[in-house]
Subunit: 246 residues, 2 copies
């Protein structure tokens, strides 16, 4: 599994297209992931059409990968198909609630990661767009998602046209806990984040952003409380509109 | 990637232990998954102690894998470590809200699936326990999870002592949509679920459960509306208690 070990996010792609046959076979294999009661509570919308990419881009804050990648995949939590089947079989579905959203989102995210691994193993590069859950309402509209369908992940895919440095990761001991969660002391926090803070690119980041610490770039610029609260509202509203908060 | 294609859930394990070195190296590799802004918003609690497994079991409806697997892993959405770092660096974190939970849960679930792939690639077998989000309050207590930490996935791991049949999957065309979501007609639903309904084990299931249709086993026995509503309440309450609904 060298591809997982050596993976890096790819944001620049060759103009070369991805054959439908390859894409479908990777998707089909990805559906082997564990799924709640074998219900397969997900759908995938494939975007290849340039016009559709342009329509999707604003929901992803116009990140250039959306319009430059040959393929954009939107993975959705989907209780619509299953509920329709139930109704057609004299069974009354009860999946219009938060736990069902989380079940379906889990199913969808396991498949998303499976797809990414398979894509990378086959020479493709991917970029995971975290923006999907920030503007789900816009994506619902563009992709015409019905009730009980909610977008949870977007991946841009293509043949890599770059090979960026691998980003740093926190030390294993900062993430893994034995038997119970051992909460972090100030000393442990210093230790866990020391390497990240020592990196020249992060020091440069602090300099050009005129902040005092690296953490302030996250709290004051990239992932602000006020933005998070606004996006939480959009998330709540969209979950309600999509029927997961009955 | 034959291991993804051929994968099956393993519920029976050899008594053979998993060396800590192997487990740690698989976990470390799994942390290569995409993560929101490279924040790594997850923690993993490793359970090897038999007493701890016994304590965890009720939260997972006493499924026997919890006490019989050599290792149980609980993957948690974690904004605690990151927020502590922020505070220690004169930065005010704003991650006590639903979107931050979903960001962290996404990070954790991508890592979970990555770990499963790596484990299976290395000859281990896994079982994904969907029960984690049904009784998160119990897991929080047993594993002593602090505020801004929420369990989202549990995996039992060990060397396989069985090789069950691969379960069926819905046809690709029932899951993948081109450009926009094409909602299902009754004919499409019949077609998509025809193979599943034709399987002898599913027909047998209907017979022994005395239901009229396979779908009724899901709606009336396995995933009931009343249970989903109760579990949604527990989910909401636990998210609040863990500080993600400020």
């Amino acid at each position: 599994m060298e591809s997982i070990k050596n993976r890096r996010t790819i944001r620049k792609y060759q103009s070369k297209d991805i054959p439908a046959e390859l894409l479908n076979s990777l998707l089909e294999e990805s559906f082997r992931a564990s799924t709640m009661g074998n219900m397969q509570l997900y759908s995938v919308v494939v975007t290849r059409d340039q016009e559709m990419k342009v329509k999707l881009a604003p929901a992803h804050f116009n990140q250039p990968m959306v319009t430059s990648a040959p393929v954009v995949l939107t993975f959705c939590a989907d209780f619509n198909r299953f509920s329709k089947w139930c109704r057609q079989r004299k069974a009354e579905p009860g999946y219009d609630n938060p736990i069902s959203f989380l079940n379906a989102a889990t199913d969808a995210l396991l498949v998303t990661q499976n797809f990414c691994t398979l894509a990378e193993e086959n020479g493709l590069g991917i970029c995971y767009l975290g923006t999907t859950i920030y503007n789900p309402d816009q994506i619902v509209k563009v992709l015409e998602l019905p009730e009980l369908v909610m977008p949870v992940a977007t991946i841009t895919v293509g043949y890599p046209d770059e090979c960026p440095e691998q980003p740093d990761r926190l030390p294993l001991t900062g993430i893994v806990h034995e038997e119970t969660y051992h909460d972090y002391t100030p000393e442990m926090i210093d230790e866990i984040y020391a390497y990240k803070e020592s990196l020249p690119e992060n020091k440069h980041f602090v300099e050009i952003n005129h902040t005092e610490t690296l953490a302030q770039i996250f709290t004051d610029i990239r992932y602000k409380k006020s933005d998070n609260e606004l996006m939480s509202e959009t998330l709540r509203r969209t979950l309600k509109e999509q029927g997961f908060e009955k």
